[in-house]
């Protein structure tokens, strides 16, 4: 009963907002640029039927997945390297601390000119902006591994590769995922900006197309797709993490956030 009333309360505000939006919109009390939820659904159905939606989704998915994978992989490799080897750390630390406070999206015009309006420029800028949070998290994670664990492993005669894979990586993994999650959030922000500013295909392009042709239902359809896409990617990452880090997440904030 207790859980029941809590879950009812959970639904009150979202449902009320949607209902109010629909009713006010039908009554003509909302400005024209706020299409009603039903009109948005109809527009979604329309672009799904013409196949436009899937072309855009495929383009955006391709850009995010390749860019994010490249940036994350580079961030993990270099970050772990910087955590383990002082030489790597001393090379990358000043560069990263200098670039970290700069929004990576400012390099977008340069990347657009270097790589063109196609996929390559988006992949490059997404990888570039995803690199930094992952690098910082993995570098920090390796450095904060409990020294006692390392000593214990070394004492028992574990070779350094075993220590790396069986001690350092598992101990660093939770923090690493924190960085990857931030990188994913950045990836979507950058993807949106890149597709809005210079692109011929993609979810962001549907949004700007809707704006240009005063098809606000289409614009909202693009926004809804983009939001759902970002949300599902984050959920997928969380699912992968709880798979990999079984038992390491009990009582953490993220466990509650789900």
């Amino acid at each position: 009963m207790r859980i029941n009333s809590a879950s009812i309360q959970n639904w009150i505000l979202p449902v009320a907002a949607l209902a109010a939006w629909e009713i006010l919109g039908r009554a003509g009390l909302l400005p024209r640029y706020l299409s009603t939820p039903s009109a948005i659904l109809a527009a979604l159905w329309e672009i799904a039927l013409t196949g436009e939606l899937f072309v855009a989704l495929a383009a955006s998915l391709y850009r995010v997945s390749v860019g994010f994978a490249l940036g994350t992989a580079a961030g993990i490799v270099v970050g772990l390297g910087a955590g383990i080897l002082p030489g790597v750390r001393h090379f990358f630390d000043p560069l990263v601390s200098f670039l970290y406070s700069i929004p990576k999206v400012t390099f977008l015009p340069i990347f657009l000119l270097l790589f063109g309006l196609g996929h390559a420029s988006k992949i490059a800028i997404i990888a570039f902006s995803g690199f930094f949070p992952v690098f910082v998290a993995s570098r920090h994670a390796v450095l904060s591994v409990d020294k006692l664990l390392l000593w214990a492993a070394r004492n028992m005669g574990a070779p350094s590769w075993t220590i790396f894979f069986r001690v350092v990586i598992p101990a660093a993994a939770p923090q690493l995922f924190g960085g990857i999650r931030i990188g994913l959030a950045h990836a979507f922000v950058v993807l949106f900006a890149a597709e809005l500013i210079g692109s011929k295909v993609g979810l962001g392009t549907i949004i700007s197309y809707g704006e240009e042709w005063v098809r606000f239902d289409l614009m909202f359809a693009g926004i809804v797709c983009f939001a759902v896409f970002g949300f599902l990617s984050d959920r997928m990452l969380l699912a992968i993490r709880s798979r990999l880090l079984k038992g390491q997440m009990i009582g953490t904030e993220e466990e509650i956030v789900r």
Binding site: A6, Q9, N10, W11, I12, L13, P14, P31, Y33, L34, H90, F91, F92, D93, P94, L95, F98, L99, S101, I102, P103, V105, T106, F107, L108, P109, I110, L113, L114, A185, F188, V189, F192, A193, L196, I197, L203, G204, I207, S208, E211, M219, F220, G222, I223, F226, A227, G230, F231, D234, R235, E253, I256, V257, R258
Partner: protein, 258 residues
């Protein structure tokens, strides 16, 4: 004495050599003509652009626009978000009503909503501030909420036992106990504010550093683009340091972790 200073100098070079090295490589690449010099102007030309544009006040004007927008949205989010998180942390009804909005909305890329904001608030400063407010609100509320929920009950009990009133408990027990979480939420939100303002200025505006970058890249004068990127980096770094300073004086009992 001399050996010591020599060793100090060596470690200083060992830690910071990568930035001068990179600038040197940059200069050599430009001088060798491997890349189009319009795309990658030499460090000297970037420096000249930076000096002239700061000197005649253009960059300072645009930077002040960007920073004041970012700060306005950020402060608004802090003043609304922290009391809101407190209400969510202390009241079951408020928690049940708003938890799904904040926790499900957290991973959604809200940047996609920006076109709607431009219709509601116009293309100038108000839409930027409103959007920055929205983007900053989420990390602040979510982080502070966990802080308010995590206050140890025995602290509150002992205060009640000593006969403290509700307002005194709030001011002297709950607020100090939550202070670290509040500041970590603010520290996540501050760079978000700058990123969001710059992106939205790049998408459409006639003032601000984001606009400055866009306009000079369409004129193919990339020395000015790099100069603006450097200014953004400095602004972000300065704001972050200011926040750390504030944290240092607000949380005087917990100084070890910066």
């Amino acid at each position: 004495m001399t050996a010591q200073t020599f060793a100090q100098a060596r470690s200083l070079i060992g830690r910071w050599y990568s930035i001068p090295l990179l600038i040197l490589v940059w200069q050599l690449t430009v001088a060798s003509g491997l890349v189009e010099s319009r795309l990658l102007p030499s460090p000297g030309r970037v420096w000249t652009a930076l000096a002239t544009e700061v000197g005649n006040g253009t960059l300072i004007y645009h930077a002040s626009v960007t920073v004041s927008r970012a700060l306005a949205g950020f402060l608004l989010a802090a003043f609304v978000g922290i009391p809101f998180a407190a209400a969510m942390g202390r009241s079951v009804l408020v928690r049940n009503l708003f938890e799904p909005i904040f926790f499900i909305g957290y991973p959604i890329p809200k940047i996609a909503l920006f076109p709607v904001f431009t219709y509601i608030f116009g293309i100038g400063t108000p839409s930027k501030i409103a959007f920055t407010f929205l983007e900053c609100l989420y990390p602040i509320v979510v982080t502070c909420y966990f802080g308010f929920r995590g206050v140890q009950t025995r602290l509150i009990w002992s205060a009640q036992n000593c006969g403290a009133s509700r307002s005194i408990i709030l001011r002297r027990v709950i607020l100090p106990a939550t202070m670290p979480s509040i500041f970590s939420g603010l520290r996540v939100a501050l760079p978000v504010a700058i990123i969001v303002v710059v992106i939205t200025e790049m998408i459409g505006d006639s003032i601000g550093l984001g606009y400055y970058i866009t306009i000079w890249s369409t004129r193919f004068t990339f020395a000015n683009v790099y100069a603006a990127i450097i200014v953004i980096g400095i602004c972000g770094l300065a704001l972050d340091q200011a926040l750390l300073l504030l944290r240092h004086s607000a949380i005087y009992w917990q100084r070890e972790e910066a």
